[in-house]
Symmetry: C2
């Protein structure tokens, strides 16, 4: 039976791939990958190729959405792998590929890996059960600046829930939104929407380079955070809701300039 393996690469680099992902790639007839929905450390794919001793064809968004190359490969080969950073199937495009493969009678295997969806919550110290809906901030465009992410954050806040806020990735332009940029955009949305629930003193958690050796967690008011330099991508934000005392205790460890700075550098 023909098999399509959707393999998550995790959130760091070739070393965040699970053993079974590596084994599956080694058996594969052809290996595709995409990096427009997320980002790994520089050189990850090169080093991965050396580990699996095989070529990896990186597809752009158009190729993945059209699905032609992958479906063609499934027509002529038995074992096709498709790699994405994070956990597979978090993006709609990948679900479409999965449906098409199932429809032609392929076996579709999913190999799970670390994802920012759970890593961010864990790093922040906030409880997974208290997260509301996740939202994503897009880079504002000249005539397009929807405030719906801001509404979603306010809605979560009102219910005492935390908001995971993912930040725009435009890999083709090498543009990755930072947590400070995100804070600025949230404040501008507040100005436009005028709900009055979020201000410069609202506290935010920046999750910076999650899972990496130079990863960082920072807890600061949005108004201060927007002026900071937190280094390279990837970043994301959490706007906390009502805090349990233990959540507060963890967050206090991540306030800027405190004596834990040295330890948190490696978080």
């Amino acid at each position: 039976m023909k098999r399509l393996s959707l393999i998550g690469l995790g959130i760091v680099d070739e070393r965040s791939v699970p053993l079974m992902g590596i084994d599956r790639m080694k058996e594969a007839d052809v290996v595709f990958a995409e990096f427009f929905t997320s980002i790994l450390r520089e050189g990850s794919i090169q080093r991965l190729k050396e580990i699996i001793e095989k070529e990896v064809t990186v597809l752009d968004r158009e190729d993945v959405e059209e699905k032609e190359l992958i479906m063609e490969a499934l027509g002529s080969k038995d074992n096709v792998c498709f790699l994405t950073a994070g956990d597979p199937l978090t993006a709609t495009t990948h679900q479409e590929l999965r449906i098409d493969a199932l429809k032609i009678g392929c076996q579709v295997d999913i190999i799970n890996s670390g994802s920012i969806f759970t890593a961010a919550g864990g790093m922040s110290g906030l409880q997974h059960y208290k997260f509301g809906r996740t939202t994503t901030l897009g880079f504002p465009e000249e005539n397009y600046f929807p405030t719906s992410p801001h509404e979603m954050i306010c809605d979560n806040m009102e219910r005492g829930l935390h908001s995971l806020v993912l930040l725009d990735i435009q890999a083709h332009n090498d543009r990755y939104m930072t947590a400070p940029e995100g804070c600025d955009i949230i404040l501008r949305m507040e100005e436009k929407a005028g709900i009055g629930k979020i201000g410069p003193l609202t506290m935010a958690v920046a999750i910076v380079r999650a899972g990496r050796e130079d990863g960082k967690v920072l807890y600061a008011p949005i108004g201060e955070m927007k002026e900071m330099d937190l280094g390279g991508p990837p970043h994301c934000l959490i706007i906390p809701g009502k805090l349990h005392f233990m959540e507060e205790e963890v967050l206090e460890l991540f306030r800027s300039g405190d004596h834990f700075d040295k330890s948190i550098r490696s978080l």
Copy 2:
């Protein structure tokens, strides 16, 4: 500097561990693990020991909550690893351990892995952005049968959001709640709470043995699902909210008895 590495083992077995997790264990002076918050395939730890060529001390809930053994190890050793199934830091107990280690000046590294929190959503085909709050069903006790999980599901439904419903694990009693048991409990909660939003015809998604070779997704009415035998643990449930047409298309593939049964056996 002393270092505590919190390592996620993923959701399957020793092969769902990321390469960097294996490397870190190989360097470790001492390796602890716990399995009361989740479950891996039988024999995983034995096979992991062979891979890392090192002992792994499995702690029970009491040992982890008291933290004494791990903190003592950090006192006398430089490199201590603590392993958990899934992604680290999703359980409160692990956060407490992390805080204590940070407070004595340890470096705490987190090594992320696949988690049921994201794997379930991906397998179901439902969009991550449309999940509301996650809830957990506990085994009912004689004089304790709170209906709050049911309220949370209804609240999500009302807002058009999907609910991830985790199911009780009582590892010490070798009891793992199945999706059919979960459906039965949800219907009993409805009876008790009488909100009238959930009935036997409400559709549910069972995610069975996520990430494993004999994993399965099943889409069926709660009233039917509660009579089914879906095999061994781990299971979890999703109660969908408002469905996008593409979400519907995926779910239809997972209806019981349809021609995709053969393919989904390996999902």
